[in-house]
Every structure is written in structure tokens, then in C-alpha cells.
């Protein structure tokens, strides 16, 4: 048994944030039914550089473990199918710009009349209300407007964003948190509700330390490269053959680190004695440490630091990260078979439940792969299904 077994999710989503939200629900056993337009399907099905046998990698990544149906929402019969599905569902997730679903009659107020128990989740660029609610938003824009870009990158370099689309991903996760919280409330009261989040708010919610720094000092935080705003040494350090990371900001870990470096005298150096002094003299400390770390290889330092119990690690590229023995031991790389692309790889479930674990067991659907199956579940007869097919309402 998976934990969300029995929860049905209608997925009217595209691109990344909302598909990532429903993907996580699907990994945990929810029956996620993805609705796509006939013909081309969801826009991420269009091929970019990443594809296999003509199947889009980005689509396959974000839509595993889901069922797929193709329905034309420009035809009234298509909208009727979605409304019938909603009547059977627990959750509805969409990420259109505010307004689009109103024209289709698939907004929260319309759907709660069909199903008062429905938890309706909307993930947009800026949220359903406020002056920018009608604007389109992307991860990049949310990263810029949330302050995330302003605290990322080299101290003096050009702007850099988080290399991973963290506003998209976090909005998807916050959406899942809102949905599951709303389902708990529904268990007690029978009432569904609207769950409304956005890329901008998700990215802002990640600036916990940075906003605290701003409010407590009055100064807006700046980029610090790989370093920590409030702790040193905690950064990438240069070895003979490249960089590695060390986190040794506490007095105890710093002492252990100094022992590994063979420089216990740092502990008596007044520039480095105590957390506040190390933070104030971070650049000097970095220079002193790199004089020593620069003499030997990353591997040599990492081995010694592990023995000494000082948190440290390599800076892996993705080829290395995805082949790391610990990543594999934790099931973070999964093999799947896609009906068109054949053998593919996928990331695993990062949170492990001991009794009812989630699992990545099914590749993303082909366009319309489950249309007939889902229509049959909704009690459309074979002749009705044929008529819908011939009118192009479904595919």
C-alpha cells in the first residue's frame, strides 16, 4: 500500500511547478489523471535537445506515475468530461494564468458546485490576487523578484541564479503541502477549499535567513559565493586539483579542522578565535587555509576530514552525483520502461516511509494512453466513446 492510495487528482497542468506537485502525489500512490489537449499534448511534449525515440525527456521526467487522457477543452463535450472527472476526484490542480479556467468554467467556484469536497490547487507566477496576478511568471523572474538572485553568485561577478529552478520546484512542493493540509481539514469537516500559491511566494518563503538578516541589521544581504552568511569556515576551498567543501563553523568543528590542517595555532590566533572573529575575518581565514589545502588533492583532504568527523564533501557534477554510491544506496536513481522511449532513468523518492513507501513504478503516459480506460470508468459507452473520438473531443 502507498500512502495516498485512494486519492484521485485531476491534473490540468503544464511545464514544471504544477506537474512536479502532482508527480510527488503520484509517487506516493495518488491516482493522478493528466489532461492534455489532443494533437500536440502538453507543450513540454514538444521536442527539445533532450529526447529519446521522439519522446520528450522533460515531459517524461515530470509526468511519471500518472495516467494520461487527451481531451479538447474548446469543445463543450470535452469540458463535460472534465466536470464528470471532477465529480469523482479529491484534488484538482491547474497552473493556468488566473482567468483562463474561468472562461472554461473550470474555476474553483464552478467546480465546488459539482464537488463540495474538492481541494482545488492553483499554482501561478504571482498568485491569484494582488497587482501582478494576471502576469505570466517564470522561475527566472520569480528568482529575480524574490531576492534569490541578489544573494547568489560571486561577490563581484555578474548576476547568477540558482542553477536549479528552485521557485518552480518549491512552488510544487508548497502546493503539495497545501493540498495535503486541506485534505486533513476535509477529513474533519467534509469541506474542500482553494489552495493558492505561486512561484514568487515560494521563492520568497525560501529567504528565511536572508530576510531575518535584513530585518535584524537593516542591510540587504549580498552574494557570498560558496560561503555562509553567518558562519566560517563554511565554503568551498581550493585543493591541488580543484575545490571541495568544508563546514566547520562551530568552535568544536573548527578545532577538529585545524588539527587536520596541522595548524592548531589558528585556535590561538585572535583573528580566528571564536565564531564572530572567524566571520569578521573570513577572507583572511580562507587565504590561510588555502595555503595548506592547495598543496594536496581533494581526495586526500576528504579522507582525512571524514576520519576527523568534519563535514566535508566533493563538488560533484551531475555525472558524478548520479553515480555516487550513497545516492544509489538510497534509491535515488530508478530504472523505468517507457512504452515509446524504452529503458529510461528517473530520480527516486527523496523521503522514505517505512511502512507505506512511495515508489516510482510507471513511466509517463503516451498522449491519450488512458483515454479509453478513464472514459470507461466514467461509464461512457463504447458508442459514446467512438462518437467523442470521431468529433475530435478526445484522442
Amino acid at each position: 500500500m502507498k500512502p495516498l492510495q485512494g486519492i484521485r487528482v485531476i491534473d490540468l497542468t503544464q511545464a514544471m511547478a504544477a506537474p512536479f506537485c502532482t508527480m510527488n502525489l503520484a509517487d506516493m500512490g495518488a491516482d493522478v489523471i493528466k489532461i492534455e489537449p489532443p494533437g500536440e499534448g502538453e507543450p513540454t511534449r514538444q521536442l527539445g535537445a533532450a529526447q529519446k525515440n521522439g519522446h520528450s525527456a522533460t515531459f517524461m521526467t515530470m509526468n511519471r506515475c500518472k495516467r494520461g487522457i487527451a481531451v479538447d477543452l474548446k469543445q463543450p463535450e470535452g469540458v463535460e468530461i472534465v466536470r464528470k472527472l471532477v465529480a469523482t476526484a479529491d484534488v484538482f490542480v491547474q497552473n493556468y494564468r488566473p482567468g483562463v479556467v474561468n472562461r472554461l468554467g473550470l474555476d474553483f467556484d464552478s467546480l465546488k458546485k459539482i464537488n463540495p469536497r474538492l481541494v482545488y490547487c492553483q499554482i501561478s507566477g504571482f498568485g491569484n490576487t494582488g497587482p501582478y496576478s494576471g502576469r505570466g511568471g517564470y522561475d527566472l523572474i520569480a528568482q529575480g523578484m524574490s531576492g534569490v538572485i541578489s544573494v547568489t553568485g560571486d561577490e563581484d561577478g555578474p548576476p547568477a541564479k540558482s542553477g536549479i529552478p528552485l521557485a518552480d520546484l518549491a512552488a510544487g512542493l508548497f502546493g503539495a503541502y497545501g493540498i495535503l493540509s486541506a485534505l486533513e481539514y476535509r477529513e474533519r469537516t467534509g469541506e474542500g477549499q482553494l489552495v493558492d500559491t505561486s512561484l514568487l511566494e515560494a521563492a520568497m518563503a525560501l529567504t528565511v535567513w536572508e530576510s531575518a538578516e535584513y530585518w535584524s541589521t537593516g542591510k540587504a544581504p549580498k552574494p557570498v559565493g560558496s560561503a555562509h552568511r553567518n558562519s566560517a569556515p563554511y565554503q568551498a576551498l581550493r585543493a591541488l586539483d580543484g575545490y571541495f567543501t568544508v563546514g566547520a563553523g562551530s568552535d568544536k568543528l573548527f578545532a577538529a579542522f585545524c588539527a587536520v590542517l596541522g595548524r592548531k595555532d589558528f585556535l590561538e590566533d585572535q583573528r580566528f578565535a571564536g565564531r564572530a572573529a572567524r566571520l569578521a575575518n573570513r577572507r583572511a581565514l580562507e587565504a590561510e587555509i588555502e595555503k595548506i589545502t592547495g598543496r594536496e588533492t581533494r581526495a586526500a583532504w576528504l579522507e582525512r576530514l571524514e576520519k576527523a568527523g568534519v563535514p566535508a564533501g566533493p563538488i560533484n557534477n551531475y555525472a558524478e552525483a548520479l553515480a555516487d554510491p550513497h545516492a544509489l544506496a538510497r534509491g535515488m536513481v530508478v530504472d523505468l520502461v517507457h512504452p515509446g522511449a524504452g529503458a529510461i532513468k528517473a530520480l527516486g523518492v527523496p523521503v522514505k516511509l517505512s511502512e507505506t513507501p512511495g515508489a516510482v513504478e510507471r513511466a509517463a503516459p503516451l498522449l491519450g494512453q488512458h483515454t479509453a480506460e478513464v472514459l470507461a470508468e466514467l461509464c461512457y459507452s463504447e458508442s459514446e466513446q467512438k462518437a467523442l473520438l470521431s468529433k475530435g473531443v478526445v484522442q
Partner: protein, 405 residues
């Protein structure tokens, strides 16, 4: 303060009201997880060592008041407990018997040494959902290692994809693997709560900073697996699309996401560079990706002639997604952020008005809200012990023995 099963008249209920959470966490990933539960109405009891959680010593804004601690511990109660004394362990077990969820982020093994790990507590309460957040997870070759956000960002590949090509390593400026692990933990806990309805039993929920970093690398893993190319550092640019990046204006940078042919056409026209749309180097996404640096050069020759405000206004009129690159101060002051309640303000006793981030998810019927300000160390120790059935004299004796404070 006694936990409230029903909200006072006129106040909205919380989605997670009635849920009791023991919060044995410190610093960021764990406290963020339990704060998200508390925002939704769960009763979260923060169990701290008698000297207080580590973060209480950071970023003081008044004697004994830490800005970092305030940022992650609102809506919680505090119980200060010495788990090295048998009486402390006994109290925690009694508390676990009354709880639905326990969250901890010790290094693997520490909870076992204290005698309060899942195997022990599930005997006290088989319905308990026990969530551990660690650097690398409870199993696998690195399980016993300490892990920080920096280490996880480095090992998961995130640092290899962040920053500008050729520069020194940089990490994502916010501690994304801490925050991501906190979010995945909340997700796992809420999933386990649903499973408990069917099974009647709790379970162990195990996640880590390293795994959160990998799970957030979905795009980058995809690029690597399907193209064989190792994702590089691209500054502000997109892996699969162009133009989608920061551009230089006369007074700084702004972002533009013209991520499809239609938006690219609109953006080029807006800049007076309509001729580029038909240019064979730039007429497809693939072409624009291949010639991204040349494209950037041609576009910046125009964008650098005017200030950001001019371009942002024109982009909005043209329907091209674009935005400023705000400092954290500007981000918090933005009218949309304000309209969405992203800044809360409350009076903290002895300090005055304090600001905090709002919850990013808006629930129409049961909105997240501030129910109480972050607790002083041990503020609720007496009340919680009395709820557990300890008499007034017993509480006094425990205090004298320094089992609580």
C-alpha cells in the same frame, strides 16, 4: 497557553488543528518543517536542551532574543528538557504517548543513544509518525556523516550547475537543500498521516539534505541522462531555452523569459530588433540555444541603452514576462509581496515590533496564520508538564534537579 481544539469565535480554523507534534529539531531543516505544520494549526511543542536550541545564540536583536530563532519557530510552544537525565527521557516518552508526530534532525544514532529513537517510542505510541531529517539519511554508506547544506549542495550536483562558467564555485544563495529537506519531510509526514487512517499505525519517515538536493535536480538529471552532456554553470541562463536570462540595462540588470517563438518575436520587436526573428541563427529554440552568447551580445547592445524601469514597462505592455532583480529589501517591499501577505508583523514582548515571512500557500477556508509569537526558552515547560499529569510539586522537583527549565 493551552492547545485549542476549537478556534475562538471569529477566527478561522487551522487545517491541521488537533495534530500534536513534538519538535526535537535545531537550526534550519527540522525547524522549517515543523513551522510549516504549526502555520497550518498543528500544536508544535519544541523540545529544547536546557541551554536552548543552538540557533538561539545567533543574530541577537535583544538580550536572549535571536532573529534566526524567531524566523523559524513561530506558532510553537517551548519545553526545555535535559534528555541526559532519566527524568527528561521519561517526560519525552510521556509526551510521545500523546503526540501524532515527532520530528528530529540529530545526526543518525544520537536519538538512539538518548533512548528516544523510533524503535523505543513506537512501543510507547504505535500511532506515532517519527520523522528524521539528516545530512544523508539513516542508511547507505554516508549515513553517519554530518551534513550541512553546503556539503549537500556540492555533492548533489547543484553547485556544479550554479554560478558563472570559469568563476570560483558558488552555491545557491539560500540554503536550498535544508529548505528542500524540510519540505519533503512535511510532505512525507502528511502522507504518513493519510496512511495512518487506513492502517491505524504510525511509521518512520526518513529524508535528508543530500536526497532533497538530488530530487530538486530533476531538470539537470534529465539533461544528463538524455543528452549525455553534463549540465554546466550558466549564470542566469536557461538550460533548454533562450533568450531566458538577465540582461544588462543602463543602470543594472533585469530578467526576461522569452521562452518560446511567440515571446521571442515580441521581445525582439520591442527592442527594435525584429530582423533577428527571421535570422537563421535565431529562428528556432535550438538555434537560439546554439548561438546564445551571440544573441546575448546583440540584445544587450540595445538593452544597455535604457534603464531597467523603461524596459520593464515596455515588456509588460508587450506581454513579455520580465522582472527586476530585487535585493531582499526590495523584494519584501514589493506591492505584490505585500498584497500576498508575505510579511507579517507582530509585537514581541520586550523587543517591540518584529517582522517575519508569511506562509506562501493561501488556503481559502483555513488560512495559515500567526497564532502565537515564537516562545521564550522553556516558556511552556510548566504548562506542558501539568497537561501530562505532573503535579505542581513534581514540576518543582524536576526544576530543582535541572531535568527541566
Amino acid at each position: 497557553m493551552v492547545s485549542q481544539k476549537n478556534p475562538p469565535p471569529g477566527e478561522t480554523p487551522g487545517a491541521l488543528e488537533g495534530l500534536r507534534v513534538i519538535d526535537q529539531t535545531q537550526v534550519m531543516a527540522g525547524p522549517f518543517c515543523s513551522m510549516l505544520l504549526a502555520d497550518m494549526g498543528a500544536e508544535v511543542i519544541k523540545v529544547e536542551p536546557r541551554e536552548g536550541e543552538y540557533t538561539r545564540q545567533e543574530r541577537a536583536i535583544a538580550p536572549g532574543v535571536s532573529a534566526s530563532f524567531l524566523a523559524l519557530n513561530r506558532n510553537k510552544r517551548s519545553l526545555a528538557l535535559d534528555l541526559k537525565q532519566p527524568e527528561g527521557v521519561e517526560i519525552l516518552k510521556k509526551l510521545a504517548a500523546t503526540a501524532d508526530v515527532l520530528v528530529e534532525n540529530y545526526r543518525p544514532g544520537v536519538a538512539g543513544r538518548l533512548g528516544v529513537d523510533f524503535e523505543i517510542l513506537k512501543k510507547v505510541n504505535p500511532r506515532l509518525i517519527y520523522c528524521s531529517i539528516s545530512g544523508f539519511g539513516q542508511t547507505g554508506p554516508y549515513a553517519s556523516r554530518g551534513g550541512f547544506d553546503l556539503i549537500a549542495q556540492g555533492m548533489s550536483g547543484i553547485m556544479s550547475a550554479t554560478g558563472s562558467e570559469g568563476g570560483p564555485p558558488v552555491k545557491v544563495g539560500v540554503p536550498i537543500t535544508d529548505l528542500g529537506a524540510g519540505l519533503f519531510a512535511v510532505f512525507g509526514i502528511l502522507c504518513a498521516l493519510r496512511a495512518r487512517r487506513a492502517t491505524g499505525r504510525g511509521q518512520f519517515v526518513d529524508t535528508s539534505l543530500f536526497e532533497a538536493g538530488l530530487a530538486l535536480s530533476a531538470w539537470e538529471a534529465t539533461e544528463y541522462w538524455y543528452t549525455g552532456q553534463i549540465p554546466k554553470r550558466l549564470g542566469t541562463a536557461h538550460r533548454l531555452n533562450a533568450p531566458y536570462q538577465a540582461f544588462k540595462a543602463s543602470d543594472g540588470y533585469f530578467t526576461v523569459g522569452a521562452a518560446n517563438n511567440k515571446l521571442w518575436g515580441l521581445f525582439a520587436q520591442m527592442l527594435g530588433l525584429g530582423k533577428l526573428v527571421a535570422d537563421p541563427r535565431f529562428d528556432t529554440v535550438g538555434g537560439r540555444m546554439q548561438n546564445r552568447l551571440e544573441l546575448e551580445r546583440l540584445l544587450e547592445a540595445e538593452t544597455s541603452k535604457q534603464p531597467r524601469a523603461v524596459w520593464l514597462e515596455r515588456c509588460e505592455k508587450a506581454g513579455v514576462p520580465a522582472g527586476p532583480i530585487y535585493s531582499v529589501a526590495e523584494a519584501l517591499a514589493d506591492p505584490q509581496a505585500q498584497a500576498r501577505g508575505m510579511t507579517l508583523e507582530y509585537e514581541y514582548p520586550g523587543v517591540g515590533m518584529v517582522k517575519a515571512l508569511g506562509n506562501p500557500v493561501k488556503l481559502s477556508r483555513t488560512p495559515a496564520r500567526l497564532r502565537r509569537v515564537p516562545p521564550r526558552l522553556g516558556e511552556d515547560s510548566d504548562a506542558i508538564l501539568r497537561e501530562l499529569g505532573y503535579g505542581v510539586d513534581e514540576v518543582k522537583a524536576l526544576r530543582q534537579k535541572k531535568a527541566i527549565s
